[in-house]
């Protein structure tokens, strides 16, 4: 897919809670084709602390409004800078980067999109895509507390939503992998993105039950376009780049200890 270096304008900066913002961006021309699961390399201000670009998933593309959404969790200087952007400000993105999810081979497939924390970001765009193409999906979303559950009203538009919170303030209490939905094997396709321990638990469940499973990895990145080889993950085919050959991998290919 052709990649672009583009300036976007901030349309809206929605503060979702103490840690998260949703940035709605637009571009003066029609957005290029972008697939679910892909990400952008976001230019920060280039100060000594934020020298490199930051990889951020495409959360959603609103073609009608020509909008692109980024869901940002504030963890350090770069994401804090993004979270403070005011409407009208410019943001430079390289996109679309990385691969996409493997779409189920039949419309009756039972699909679970399992996200935790900021890992829900790519799930919204994929869920919307699946919904628009006649698939039915289940969103399984885990968070620490009620306040950390993000974009639930958006997810509700495209499928059934199941939640857990660690403190029991919303949905079932516990981790998302402990949700009662998993008590009997209910799924044919599982896609997951979130903290590594969560993704490993999901991968273990999928492998035990012989379910197709893809995980979207978050490795630190230099270039984002496959040249520096900094972002690799060990796989059955050797070290592969998460930015160009990923970020989405079939879990059976990954050599992580699950």
């Amino acid at each position: 897919m052709k990649k672009f270096i583009l300036d976007f304008t901030v349309v809206e900066n929605v503060r979702l809670n103490y840690q998260y913002v949703l940035l709605k961006l637009t571009h003066n021309k029609k957005l290029p084709p972008i697939l679910p699961g892909q990400f952008a390399q976001v230019r920060v201000d280039g100060s000594p602390e934020t020298f490199l670009r930051r990889p951020i998933s495409i959360n959603f593309v609103d073609s009608e409004r020509n909008e692109l959404w980024l869901l940002i969790q504030v963890v350090g200087a770069g994401t804090r800078w993004m979270s403070e952007l005011k409407p009208g400000k410019l943001l430079n993105l390289i996109l679309p980067l990385g691969n996409t999810f493997t779409v189920p081979d039949n419309k009756n497939a039972r699909i679970a999109l399992i996200g935790g924390g900021v890992g829900v970001a790519p799930m919204l765009m994929y869920g919307e895509w699946l919904h628009r193409n006649g698939f039915k999906c289940n969103f399984m979303i885990g968070a620490r507390s009620k306040i950390d559950l993000l974009q639930l009203n958006e997810f509700n538009k495209y499928g059934e939503v199941f939640t857990t919170t660690e403190d029991g303030t919303y949905g079932e209490k516990g981790f998302i992998t402990q949700h009662s939905r998993f008590n009997t094997p209910n799924f044919d396709y599982i896609y997951t993105c979130g903290p590594t321990p969560m993704m490993k638990a999901v991968a273990r469940y999928a492998q035990e039950n012989d379910i197709f499973c893809e995980a979207s990895l978050e490795n630190v990145m230099g270039c984002g376009i496959g040249t520096c080889l900094c972002c690799v993950t060990d796989t059955t085919e050797g070290n592969l780049t998460v930015c160009a050959e990923g970020p989405i991998f079939n879990v059976t290919k990954l050599k992580w200890q699950i």
Binding site: I5, P48, V220, I225, G226, D234, N239
Partner: protein
């Protein structure tokens, strides 16, 4: 437009901007962003005799105004390069150099011999910053006898432009530069990355799997500039300057201290089209200051 051509030993580049090894892939990855024919040259990834998986993840850490890397020369080996990569890149309208790496003198020699037969590769860049397995992992480039041994051996088999890339992790870079010039190198490039490290205070662990790694980016720029100036004053062969070049002004600084060409590395990560912008910026500098050619400013620093 000024005359941007520059001579590097045996060959002429269309302009003095080359992309640095390990930071530009094989050029192919940048086709969406820029026209490769606009730059003076491309130095492809470090190539070794056999396939190498490189070091375990994490291999990178962002540090103030720069980054540490410990990629460890991951590449598919020279035979794969010849069969599967060379055919795709050989017709790019720019000068393509292969960065040759190895763990023994014999390995360097074999890779150089194989690359020598590739018609559309006008030169190699010998990366002597690699650890020498026979000397307990000490880099070839940090000892004068080891550096001269590998350059002498490669010079015997390699007939085209032999550029040798110097390590900055030495006490007297001019001494090593002179010794390598004496072995018949056609040009010298510097600097490779500076040895550094970073620690995660939360886990109290090193950030890189290898503990130490190579620093690049603007953080190394003044050190690189000083070393290029020292080397340019010490040798007669052309010098290619690099280290933290982010824009045309940085590039002109290197030319002024005596570099005949420059390489752009880490800056490619921030702007994949930066190398073309640097070519344009050098041209503008020449025009704005009444120069007709690049050669007029090489070594033109007024002391």
């Amino acid at each position: 437009m000024a005359d941007l051509t520059t001579k590097l030993g045996t060959i002429q580049l269309k302009n003095p901007v080359i992309t640095a090894s390990g930071t530009f892939g094989y050029g192919t990855e940048h086709l969406d962003f820029m026209d490769l024919s606009r730059i003076g040259g491309i130095i492809v990834k470090g190539t070794t005799l056999r396939e190498r998986q490189g070091n375990p993840y994490p291999r990178m850490a962002e540090t103030p105004s720069g980054m540490l890397n410990a990629v460890g020369l991951q590449n598919k080996g020279v035979d794969y390069f010849v069969k599967h990569i060379y055919p795709n890149i050989k017709d790019y309208d720019t000068s393509i150099f292969v960065n040759v790496s190895g763990s023994t003198v014999e390995e360097y020699v074999k890779v150089a011999e194989i690359i020598n037969d590739l018609e559309q590769i006008p030169g190699i860049e010998l990366n002597i910053s690699c650890p020498n397995v026979k000397e307990g992992g000490m880099a070839f480039g940090v000892s004068c006898p080891l550096a001269t041994e590998v350059v002498k051996a490669v010079r015997k088999v390699y007939k085209k432009e032999l550029m040798v890339k110097l390590s900055p992790n030495v006490t007297d870079i001019a001494e090593i530069a002179r010794a390598i010039e004496g072995e018949g190198a056609d040009s010298l490039s510097l600097i490779n990355t500076l040895l550094g490290m970073a620690v995660d205070v939360k886990s109290r662990k090193p950030v890189l799997s290898t503990i130490t790694g190579g620093l690049s980016g603007p953080a190394v720029n003044p050190v690189a500039l000083r070393m290029v100036w020292q080397v340019a004053n010490a040798v007669k062969i052309p010098v290619v300057g690099l280290g933290g070049i982010m824009n045309a002004t940085d590039a002109v600084e290197f030319l002024l201290v005596g570099a005949s060409a420059v390489q752009v590395g880490t800056a490619n990560f921030i702007d994949p089209a930066i190398s073309v912008k640097i070519v344009e910026g050098i041209d503008k500098y020449l025009n704005d200051n009444g120069f007709n050619s690049v050669s007029e400013i090489v070594g033109g620093m007024i002391v």
